[in-house]
């Protein structure tokens, strides 16, 4: 097999060669084997769930690829296996993990490819604290130099350290003033939505200050950014994100358990879609049907982006360096 060549114009039809060097493919294979051993040793069951599903993700921030099928109508390429895995948990699967492709439309750049690989797992009887420990152990197993580097910081403290602002208590006007003062690039941008402002500050000013070459675990998110995490007695979400430097690697929840919580948050996302004139998404009625029979067993779940872990392991500057065929040459 001829050596891969990276100089070819991406997207050119004659360019059939892989973008990633073969070394990246070998490293990927090794990571996959190590991840499977890690979960095997801990008694997790490996599962597969459909990549093509009848329901879409509720999350208004995610754009989904749809596939037209003459028999089933519209099908969705899954943005994560979360709903299907929770149905397995409701059916008594116990702790499960999955390594799968996930798809997010419009996400392309140095750290994004519309089709990517996730490791997603659910520890039964876990809370987020125990899952953070396990997730950091997994990342250290996959990238040994990161062992022992993890530092846990609350969302609030991370903002205080970087910007001397309280992202939970301070008023939206103050957040906007700080964004405008610290980030000249936001000139002309409409910033009325509090969560959008927090997202802007997190990605442009807070995360870039996380120590390079080490893991930062951010915990206790604002309730408005809970997704499907539990809300703790302090009114914050038991959700966490693991960063390596400024690069987000993983996102995890102490999982909300009650049917009412899921129904309410799905409805909230649907409202956001309507407000933003985004296409409606078929809700996951089967997940809701499962939860109608009883609470989700106590568990915590996490999704880890394998391509990014491989980027960190190989010190790659672009996700193309670790993908055989990124979207432009797929």
């Amino acid at each position: 097999m001829p050596a891969p060549r990276n100089s070819g114009e991406p997207g050119r039809e004659g360019d059939w060669r892989p973008r990633a060097p073969l070394e990246a493919l070998r490293r990927r294979a090794a990571l996959l084997a190590r991840a499977r051993a890690f979960f095997g040793d801990r008694g997790y069951l490996e599962v597969e769930t459909p990549v093509l599903g009848r329901a879409g993700a509720a999350d208004a921030q995610l754009a989904q690829f749809t596939v037209g099928d003459p028999v089933s109508g519209t099908l969705y390429l899954q943005t994560s296996p979360e709903y299907a895995m929770k149905r397995l948990i409701m059916a008594g699967s116990g702790s499960i993990f999955q390594i799968t492709k996930a798809f997010r439309q419009g996400e392309a750049g140095r750290f994004h490819n519309p089709e990517f690989t996730l490791i997603e797992w659910y520890g039964l009887g876990y809370d987020h604290r125990r899952l953070i420990e396990e997730a950091c152990a997994l990342v250290a197993e996959l990238v040994p130099p990161l062992r022992g580097s993890a530092r846990i910081v609350t969302f609030r403290q991370a903002f205080r350290d970087a910007l001397s602002v309280d992202p939970i208590e301070d008023r939206t006007e103050r957040l906007r003033a700080i964004a405008c003062a610290r980030l000249p690039s936001v000139r002309g941008l409409a910033l009325d939505d509090r969560d959008e402002l927090l997202d802007l500050l997190m990605s442009h000013a807070v995360a870039p200050g996380f120590p390079a070459g080490g893991l930062t675990v951010v915990t206790d998110y604002p309730a408005s950014q809970a997704a499907l995490a539990r809300i703790n007695p302090g009114g914050l979400a038991d959700r966490f994100e693991i960063y390596c430097g400024a690069l987000e690697l993983a996102n995890g929840f102490y999982e909300a358990a009650r049917h009412a919580e899921y129904a309410e948050r799905f409805a909230g996302e649907e409202r956001k879609r309507r407000e933003r004139s985004l296409p409606a998404v078929a809700p996951d009625r089967r997940l809701l049907a499962a939860l109608a029979e009883g609470d989700l067993p106590e568990c915590a779940g996490c999704a880890l982006g394998l391509d990014r872990v491989l980027m960190v392991a190989m010190k790659a500057a672009h996700i193309h360096e670790v993908l055989a065929f990124p979207a432009e040459s797929a």
Partner: protein
């Protein structure tokens, strides 16, 4: 009018920003966790040459700028305008001082330049990288010194002043790099 969504952003795309035509020179997609996605973009203002950073919400649209680069031959200047002609259509256009800018000091009749047009009007002019120009003024040459060490200023026929080796004389033709403003060699004519 063309509009572009942020997901069409790529290097070299010409867009309007603050009523000025600009070119994208770097585009980074950033998305925090489950939140709002942004495009962090470095943009060159094609009128001023200044580079600014701008953040867009992913999915936002911007107006495209009708900017094209065409190869044109420099004809002459009347002091106010510099006139160029398309070698293909023979169409002639005048570029003002702002558009020509620093390129003026390198422009010799018939030179093939890259003229950037915005809505059909010259926005900037890029001279050929290498030009051959005659020396109109410099201190007398030092015979025998071909080392190129030291050096002296020389004024060229287009008005540019470059640093040249001591052996260069008035009337010599020099090959010069217009991007660095440096002397390359004496040209045989």
């Amino acid at each position: 009018m063309t509009t572009y969504s942020t997901n069409e952003f790529k290097n070299g795309l010409k867009i309007m920003l603050d009523a000025d035509p600009c070119s994208i020179i770097e585009n980074e997609f950033v998305k925090p966790g489950k939140g709002q996605a942004f495009n962090r973009v470095k943009i060159r203002n094609l009128k001023t040459g200044r580079v600014v950073e701008r953040t867009f919400k992913s999915g936002d649209t911007v107006e495209g700028a009708d900017v094209v680069d065409v190869e044109m031959q420099y004809l002459y200047s009347d002091g106010e305008f510099w006139y160029f002609m398309s070698p293909e259509t023979y169409e002639q256009l005048g570029a003002d001082k702002t558009a020509v800018g620093d390129a003026a000091k390198w422009l010799k009749e018939q030179a093939l330049c890259l003229v950037t047009l915005w809505n059909g009007v010259p926005l900037s002019v890029e001279p050929p990288v290498h030009v051959v120009l005659r020396v109109t003024d410099t201190d007398p040459g030092v015979r025998g010194d071909t080392s190129g060490g030291g050096g002296k200023p020389a004024t060229l026929e287009t008005g540019a002043v470059v640093r040249v080796p001591l052996f260069i004389n008035i009337g010599d033709s020099l090959k010069v790099n217009t991007q660095t403003g440096e002397y390359i060699a004496r040209a045989k004519e």
